[in-house]
Assembly symmetry: C2
Homo-oligomer: 145 residues x 2
DNA sequence: ATAGGGCTTCCCACCGTTGGAAGGTCAAGG
DNA sequence: CCTTGACCTTCCAACGGTGGGAAGCCCTAT
């Protein structure tokens, strides 16, 4: 099957399939006599794997490791789990950062009249030497622990 | 003062100061006889404003709007508040996405033995035609359901 | 034969930031 | 006065992923 069909079947755009091949994430596809890339059902399954992993926020580098484990029949599930947990941690860290931003912004917005007068604590804070830094529970740890 | 000092005083790297100037976010700095950029205390305050806004996750384009309001003494605080609230919404949306990822990953990792056997529901899910998509409460609200 | 769609490669753009190379300038110390 | 080292200048490239588009080849159906 050609790249277009593989793209449709996997949910990965043709552009990205070529990019993944170019960067070595996936092996070079076979070629037809005319030079068209050809794909098998197995290839499509691999591409779907990649798309799903990206949907879970994995970076391409991590996906490479996941793919290696996927292909390795003598893998240890512990290695897979470890990757997943690193991903969870990374996501949680970013979430915590953003929650801290939201908390600060909400605090500032709360104090802003939001009318036609110019006075605004949001601008005042941005202008200040140091921010009010909402004393929120942003210190890494868990929001459900 | 030279760019290095302005960078130290504002927390924005010299590289980024030049970039912001180049892209028009900030006006062109003055120049010394030798061609060095020169900055005033006011400039440093502006740069600090920018850095603080970036710390709150604002994109450079939005920072441009904030700067315009900052400089406009007849601004309406409503406009500032509106920008802040758009930012809050954007952050919340991204947080929700990531929380949904975390929920899925946790669910999968839970089912993974994490030992030296190869069987792993995480890989199984990535491989599957469609994911288990944890039926989590990812619609905005709580991470502490 | 021709039209259309698909495929190929190539280059460019985004965003924000960092790095480096090659060269000019300044201030301090020998 | 000259050297040294820190600073400044501009320019060019890279990162991660993705999309857009141009120029040209291939395949299929009419």
């Amino acid at each position: 099957m050609n790249i277009g069909e593989a793209a449709k079947g996997s949910g990965v755009s043709a552009k990205m399939i070529r990019y993944y091949e170019q960067t070595g994430l996936i092996p070079s596809a076979g070629r037809s006599a005319a030079g068209y890339r050809t794909y098998t059902e197995t290839d499509v399954r691999m591409l779907r794997f990649i798309r799903r992993a990206r949907d879970l926020g994995f970076q391409v580098e991590a996906i490479g490791e996941l793919l290696a484990l996927w292909r390795d029949r003598s893998r240890h599930s512990a290695d897979v789990k470890q990757l997943a947990q690193a991903q969870i941690e990374g996501l949680r860290r970013r979430i915590a950062e953003m929650e801290s931003m939201v908390a600060t912004l909400e605090h500032l917005a709360e104090g802003c009249a939001g009318d036609d007068r110019p006075d605004c604590p949001i601008l005042a804070d941005l202008e200040a030497d140091q921010s009010l830094v909402v004393p929120a529970c942003h210190a890494g740890a868990g929001f459900n622990r």
